[in-house]
């Protein structure tokens, strides 16, 4: 058991900062942690999010098809790259989500209403077209076929007289 940097009581707050290659560790008891103004809660987010070595295993070069983010990159930033990342990395993220959300796995709050003017769909189409163009120009035909399917899907899901 580690004791507090300022007294002999057991530490409940632990932090490691690396600056210029030097590890600075802080251990604080409850009282000194409150005094220091650090964030305290039932879940130690810095531990869960930043030491994900055990939580995320497997292929670290696995990439999101939509934004290109890899598991390795996620490990560095603890941020996902796009909404699709949650699907792509669902296996890897499962235990992290369970930990940071205190074993909650199902959303029960409000859901957004259907947008009446769906600007996003138009933008999505534009973005896919851009990607398709670059895929074709770089002769990545497999990728281009995937994008073309996605575009077709988007078109059929929209209003019938639109393109």
């Amino acid at each position: 058991m580690t004791s507090c940097d300022h007294c002999d009581k057991p530490a409940i707050y632990h932090d490691v900062r690396i600056a210029n290659g030097v590890h600075n560790t802080t251990h604080l008891c409850a009282e000194h942690a409150m005094e220091a103004g650090v964030s305290l809660g039932p879940i130690d987010l810095s531990v869960v999010l930043h030491s994900t070595e055990n939580a995320i295993s497997g292929d670290i070069s696995k990439a999101c098809p939509d934004c290109g983010m890899t598991v390795a990159q996620y490990k560095k930033t603890s941020l996902l790259g796009c909404p699709s990342c949650y699907q792509t990395f669902s296996d890897e993220l499962n235990s992290i989500i369970t930990q940071v959300q205190n074993n909650n796995t199902q959303h029960i709050g409000r859901a957004p209403a259907q947008a009446s003017v769906d600007l996003t769909r138009h933008l999505q189409i534009r973005r896919l077209l851009k990607k398709l163009e670059s895929a074709v120009s770089q002769e990545e035909y497999e990728q281009a076929a995937i994008l073309r399917d996605k575009l077709r899907e988007l078109h059929t899901s929209g209003e019938p007289n639109e393109n």
């Binding site: 409850a30 009282e31 942690a33 409150m34 005094e35 220091a36 103004g37 650090v38 964030s39 305290l40 809660g41 039932p42 879940i43 987010l45 999010l49 939509d66 934004c67 290109g68 983010m69 930033t77 603890s78 941020l79 996902l80 790259g81 796009c82 909404p83 949650y86 993220l93 992290i96 989500i97 940071v100 959300q101 205190n102 074993n103 909650n104 796995t105 199902q106 959303h107 029960i108 709050g109 409000r110 859901a111 957004p112 209403a113 259907q114 947008a115 009446s116 003017v117 769906d118 600007l119 996003t120 769909r121 933008l123 999505q124 973005r127």
Partner: protein
């Protein structure tokens, strides 16, 4: 819109219920647009598309909201600093180099940050215990946006956010509480344990690098998934605050009864210092204002309104002082201005 930080101080809790303990209430929703990468993987043109979309939404004919749209690169450094101190924007948005923006209500209590960690961060802050009101505020803004664009949403995970800690509702509710009594009777540990048991996070209100100032603590829900917005709000307003307010009030009464000499010494020592000092750092000013606030709540001082102290707890920060007295002021000059302002407001 004229921006006036003197108006509508977010800590002005003097006429609100439990205003002796709860200084302010805040709500924040994290949202992302479907069809775009999250901000950390956005290109400059993605960021521009998102800001231009949001500017149309925030400035469209919404007479009752009256949001003012401001691109961050057009906002001067002093107003930016002042906005950070009022929690209208985060310091990471203030220092961002990618295209980002803020829509802010004229009363400086509601704001929409665009291209922060998530595309959209909707916020509201009100003085005192007004969690239901701030929840309504952000909900209203949320509806305004979702009417026009689709949010990234998943039936299981809820609103999809860049960081998994914001999944689900994307909602963070918080209160700023003043707990000088519990510190003096050495019972803050009880509050921390209460937080732990309710999945709440607690952190001291602090300046740059220093510790907790003025016995002010911010308490917020740590989890965002698996509870409704209302449930998350109720953890604070129904489970956490009633006992904590009672503990704090009891602690204050105990001190007044059993340690009245110590209380008087602390109160009038702080008052004497603030009424006479010519140079005050933020920490020294904040901590002594906190002591005076306790003294007023226990009727030790009757010549100073608690609202004056509440307002000073915001006004003495660097951005607010620079906004008032000139953007060129360096730290030494700020310390002098801070002392002048406090002497003027707490004048004998």
């Amino acid at each position: 819109m004229k921006i006036d930080p003197d108006y509508n101080c977010p800590f002005n809790s003097d006429h609100t219920p439990f205003g002796d303990v709860v200084l302010s209430s805040r709500a924040r929703l994290a949202r992302n647009l479907e069809g775009f990468p999250f901000v950390n993987r956005s290109t400059t043109s993605d960021c521009i598309e998102v800001t231009s979309l949001l500017s149309q939404i925030c400035t469209k004919n919404n007479s009752n909201l009256q949001l003012k749209w401001i691109e961050m690169d057009e906002l001067d450094s002093v107003t930016t600093e002042m906005f950070v101190e009022r929690h209208l924007i985060s310091s990471s948005l203030a220092h961002a180099i990618h295209p980002c923006a803020i829509a802010v209500g004229p009363e400086l209590s509601r704001s929409v940050m665009v291209n922060e960690e998530d595309h959209i961060r909707i916020q509201s802050i009100r003085p005192g215990l007004q969690l239901t009101d701030v929840r309504d505020d952000v909900h209203q803004l949320d509806l305004l946006v979702e009417e026009i664009i689709s949010y990234a949403f998943d039936d299981q995970l809820g609103f999809l956010t860049a960081c998994p800690t914001n999944l689900g509702t994307g909602a963070r509710f918080s209160v700023m509480v003043h707990l000088p009594g519990l510190r003096l009777v050495k019972d803050l540990e009880r509050v921390r344990r209460a937080c732990e048991g309710m999945s709440l996070a607690i952190r001291g209100y602090r300046g740059e690098g220093s510790g907790t100032m003025a016995d002010l603590y911010q308490v917020s829900n740590q989890i965002t998934l698996g509870n409704t917005e209302e449930q998350l709000c109720n953890i604070l307003s129904e489970d956490f605050l009633p006992p904590v307010i009672e503990w704090e009030r009891k602690a204050r009464m105990t001190i007044a009864k059993e340690q009245s000499q110590r209380l008087d010494d602390q109160t009038f020592r702080s008052l004497g210092l603030l009424q006479n000092a010519r140079i005050l750092t933020p920490e020294e000013a904040m901590n002594n204002l906190g002591n005076i606030r306790l003294g007023i709540s226990l009727d030790r001082i009757d010549t100073i309104e608690i609202s004056t102290v509440n307002q000073l707890l915001i006004e003495i920060h660097p951005g607010h002082l620079r906004w008032k007295y000139g953007k060129e002021l360096d730290d030494d000059e700020l310390n002098t201005r801070r002392a002048d302002l406090i002497r003027e407001k707490l004048g004998q």
